[in-house]
């Protein structure tokens, strides 16, 4: 895999301007990534690399065809423009040999595209290997739910808008939707796959570079489709296991009174109707709300509100003040919380590390 993708520039069609164009399109290295953090041109998984190679290969062929047609067209309109005094042109009605030629050559070019396409279709949709990490993904209006099996499948870790994966291990996402259609898309990990109610779709990739990658819902899903984002965190070494271990623990207990008040508001108030929170040593001390994200380790997440705001006290207060204003159509209503209450809740949620 790796070797073929690395040879992307070395197709038999390698003309100098093709490469120049690729460089222009793909940019290079870290700078490029800083400028366009959601780019498809900086693949960080086997899946994304394969798609990237195919895209550039097709692009080079397409650009060659396009340049040929444009050059021909340009030549013709200049060469055969009307000039006074020229005789009427010869009335040519066709030429079977020429027409066969421009049927045959495009067919050949398309065959050159078809072969790697079909190979890649089967390659990118193969069965998951035994060592693959399975992550269940569920799309909601407008946030992501990720579920990991822990303790040999007896327990489940649930998180939102932030998917964690280890580098070097194949990851298979098993995806469905809770309400309408969504599509999982982290460009640097690979292409989109739709999330469809009552159907489980899979997507498999092996992350190759550690880092935090941006993702975005790809299928129109209503008012805040634009605001349904996520982060994919690829861990090196045992980072992923440590993260998973921490997530599987209950939320830490409050240490001061403001936090205690916040906990009261969250676990006994309206929040609990929608959000799950595992906060006790005993497994039954938890809120059971299912319509909103699991909040157990909320404070560790990088973002809030479907990945659109950085997770800090200021943004969290803004969000709690009036969610539908931050996110049109938000299923979390404006609870008319007092500023004081918001302060306590923020204090509590931030301790949920």
């Amino acid at each position: 895999m790796k070797s073929r993708a690395k040879s992307s520039g070395y197709s038999p069609w390698k003309p100098a301007f093709g490469l120049a164009l690729l460089t222009l399109l793909a940019g290079c290295g870290e700078d490029h990534l800083k400028t366009y953090p959601q780019t498809t041109f900086a693949p960080a998984s086997d899946f994304a690399r394969e798609l990237d190679w195919l895209f550039k290969y097709t692009l080079v062929l397409g650009v060659l065809v396009g340049l040929f047609v444009f050059a021909l067209l340009g030549y013709i309109v200049w060469r055969f423009r009307y000039q006074p005094g020229h005789p009427e042109p010869e009335q040519v009605h066709g030429n079977a040999r020429l027409e066969l030629l421009w049927t045959f050559i495009p067919a050949l070019i398309l065959a050159a595209i078809a072969v790697p396409t079909v190979r890649s279709i089967f390659n990118t949709q193969r069965e998951a290997p035994a060592n693959a990490l399975i992550v269940e993904v569920r799309g909601w209006q407008w946030w992501w739910e990720f579920r990991y099996a822990v303790n040999g499948g007896r327990d489940t870790v649930v998180t939102a808008n932030e998917i964690h994966v280890p580098v070097g291990t194949p990851v298979q996402l098993r995806m469905t939707a809770g309400d309408v259609l969504h599509a999982f898309w982290v460009p640097q990990m690979g292409g989109k796959r739709d999330l469809i109610p009552n159907k489980v779709n899979t997507l498999m990739f092996t992350p190759e570079e550690p880092g935090v990658y941006l993702g975005q819902c790809g299928e129109f899903c209503g008012d805040s489709h634009a605001l349904m984002k996520m982060r994919l965190v690829a861990h090196e070494g045992d980072g992923f296991q440590r993260w998973l271990q921490n997530e599987s623990q209950p939320a830490p207990a409050p240490r001061d009174s403001a936090v205690m008040l916040g906990k009261q508001l969250v676990t006994k108030g309206a929040c609990a109707g929608c959000h799950t929170l595992r906060y006790g040593a005993a497994r039954d001390s938890a809120t059971m709300g299912r319509t909103g994200p699991d909040l157990t380790h909320f404070g560790r997440r990088r973002t809030l509100a479907g990945g659109i705001l950085e997770n800090n006290a200021e943004n969290l207060s803004k969000w709690l003040k009036n969610p539908p204003e931050v996110k049109p159509g938000s299923k979390m209503p404006n609870l008319n919380l007092k500023d004081e209450e918001i302060r306590y809740i923020v204090a509590y949620l931030q301790t949920l590390q």
Partner: protein, 645 residues
């Protein structure tokens, strides 16, 4: 037999083209030419509306995190932009040419069913008003023109928005199906004597293929939206996964219509371009037969590729491979057409009228759209492009670079025939340069935006993803296009009054419509012409059959000749058509107001279903539905017994 006097002055009889005037005469007209003009101005109007909707979209995206319009308004705008452009602007604008030009090109006096033709127009007119009403009252569909289930179901979309989609498109689709049947019958049955299928003008050929696609594709779509209507109004669960329905069935039905729809919009343009390029190159179309067969093949293959819109759906590798390969196949006949147009120009004597400029630009821009189309057929790679701005770029290179540029070419080409006056060439060239620069500025950066990760159908984007400058350029391009469109509108208004008088055949074109005065008399042809060749107004023909001297129609309409020698007489089924003047008894269908009343009855029936679901005082309008149905029934009855003479 015609006398020598008529040969010298073949059109001396051509008096005022339309004997009746006034609003009422336009409402009751069944003349295909007037209906064509109605389609023309309506679709130009909706083209401007669709453009304004596009400007709303582009203005919202000009800077990141803009608050110009709300998320819901944005969703309505991008949905309505597509619906307006596809169903209310571009399809009807092609229909304007079908109506006006096809009967003239085949040497007929009208279409096969003139009153049905009027009905098609009025049904479209009212359907368009309904969608326009939805847009201005902020109740427009807000789920995209693709309207994927289940977001269209009542629990996710309780308002009337999707009802407007369902009922508005049923009305508009009805119009298309009626027109489609009418044109298929017209083209197959009403060609002038001697016009075999393979002598038909290429534009008429493309219309025939398009109409077959319309009738079949629209039928599939009608099934889909009827099922959706039942889901929303009567509690069925075709597409509702929560109650056992399957949202993917909608996608299959939608794209089984939606993909052929692309060809419905582009094949007529193939026809226009194939008329314009030979005319202004002064050469016959290169490879006429192959052009016809390639288009039939494109139409046919158009049915086998719908799931290439669904590569992200998870249909499995076998389905993905099949649809990837079938999609690639379409590039072959399309490529043949492009090279045949180039072959037509090769060795020609090319005159760069505005019409020809648009035709050449069409070839270039459509090639770009075709190349990105092939890139989409590469299924795995498409997973990175689908639902991004790359696709928006592609579809606009096909629909704007293809359909709209082609329609502009057709407008400049046939305007003098339709209105008797030429469009101003200088304004035309300003329009051309502005449009071409604007469209490339607007749509080319979108390829990059898509690859840099900008999803489509999003009302806002953060400022730190590197998309800002490209979105800014794109919006500037949209404004430039809007300005140049105003130049076209001004050109049309001005030229209607002050344009140079066109004459019968200002371009020296070869097909029959140029043999009669501009604008043509109400009965089109004094004598139904006898056709000996594909390009009857040009001397030479592919098969070296006897042509007709440049600029004249066969006067001796009744004779059958072989190699210039008369061998027989044509027997007309209707002896009246031998008569050469209107008042001598050319049979023309009389005006009728039943089409417009019937169309209004359909609007009433469907419209009241929407208001049934609105809150407030208007919530129960069942009596309007009953009245609408009654009106439809009465109109059909009266129509059926209306005297035809």
């Amino acid at each position: 037999m015609a006398s020598t006097a008529t040969v010298a002055a073949p059109h001396a009889h051509a008096a005022a083209p339309h004997t009746e005037t006034g609003v009422w005469s336009w409402i009751t007209t069944v003349d295909h030419k007037r209906i064509g003009i109605l389609y023309f101005f309506s679709s130009i109007f909706y083209f401007l509306v669709g453009g304004i909707e596009a400007l709303f979209i582009r203005t919202q995206l000009i800077v990141p995190e803009n608050n110009f319009i709300s998320a819901d308004t944005y969703n309505q705008m991008f949905t309505q932009h597509a619906l307006t452009m596809i169903f209310l602007a571009l399809m009807p604008l092609t229909a304007a040419f079908f109506n006006y030009i096809v009967p003239l090109q085949i040497g007929a006096r009208d279409v096969a069913f003139p009153r049905l033709n009027a009905l098609s127009y009025w049904v479209y007119f009212f359907g368009g008003l309904m969608l326009l009403f939805a847009a201005v009252t902020k109740m427009a569909p807000n789920v995209g023109w693709f309207a994927y289930a289940p977001i269209t179901e009542r629990q996710y979309n309780p308002g009337p928005n999707v009802d407007f989609y369902v009922l508005g498109l049923q009305i508009v689709g009805l119009s298309s199906i009626l027109a489609g049947i009418n044109f298929i019958v017209t083209i197959l049955n009403m060609r002038a004597p001697g016009m075999r299928l393979m002598r038909m003008p290429i534009f008429t050929w493309m219309v025939l293929i398009t109409q077959v696609l319309i009738v079949t594709a629209m039928a599939v779509f009608t099934i889909a939206i009827t099922q959706l209507m039942f889901d929303r109004m009567f509690g069925t669960t075709f597409f509702d996964p929560a109650r056992g329905g399957d949202p993917l069935v909608w996608q299959h039905l939608f794209w089984m219509f939606g993909h052929p729809e692309v060809y419905i919009l582009i094949i007529p343009i193939f026809g226009i371009i194939s008329e314009v390029i030979p005319t202004f190159s002064r050469k016959p179309l290169f490879g006429y037969n192959v052009m016809v067969f390639a288009s039939v093949l494109i139409g046919w293959l158009g049915w086998g590729v719908w799931s290439h819109h669904m590569f992200a759906v998870g249909l499995g590798p076998i389905a993905d491979a099949f649809f990837a390969l079938s999609t690639m196949l379409i590039a072959i006949p399309t490529g043949i057409k492009i090279f045949n147009w180039i072959g037509t120009m090769w060795g020609g004597s090319i005159r760069f009228t505005t019409s020809m400029l648009y035709a050449v630009a069409f070839i270039a821009m459509f090639t770009l759209g075709g190349i990105s189309g092939v890139m989409h057929s590469v299924a795995p790679s498409d997973l990175q492009q689908t639902d991004t701005y790359f696709v928006v770029a592609h579809i606009h290179y096909v629909f704007f670079g293809g359909t709209v540029l082609g329609l502009f070419s057709g407008i400049y080409y046939w305007f003098p025939k339709i209105f008797g006056r030429l469009l101003d060439e200088k304004l035309g060239k300003i329009h051309f340069v502005g449009t071409l620069a604007g469209m490339n500025l607007a749509f080319f950066p979108m390829h990059f935006l898509g690859m840099y990760g900008q999803p489509r159908r999003t009302f806002t984007y953060p400022g730190d993803l590197g998309w800002n400058w490209m979105n800014f350029l794109s919006t500037m391009g949209a404004y430039l296009m809007a300005l140049s469109t105003l130049v076209l509108v001004w050109n049309v208004i001005r030229s209607l009054r002050k344009g140079a008088i066109a004459g019968d055949n200002p371009w020296g074109a070869a097909t029959l419509e140029w043999s009669i005065p501009s604008p043509p008399p109400v009965y089109n042809f004094r004598d139904i012409p006898m056709v000996h060749s594909r390009m009857p107004l040009w001397e030479a023909d592919a098969n070296k059959e006897p042509g007709i001297p440049h600029g004249k129609v066969a006067e001796d309409v009744n004779s059958i000749t072989v190699g210039g020698t008369q061998v027989g007489e044509i027997e007309y089924p209707d002896s009246e058509s031998k008569m050469s003047a209107h008042d001598l008894g050319i049979h023309l269908p009389p005006p009728s107001y039943w089409p417009v009343i019937l169309a209004f009855g359909i609007l009433m029936t469907f419209g009241s279903l929407i208001f049934r679901n609105l809150d407030g005082a208007l919530h129960n309008l069942w009596f309007l539905s009953v009245a609408g149905v009654l009106l439809v029934a009465v109109s059909i009855f009266k129509w059926a017994f209306e005297p035809g003479h």
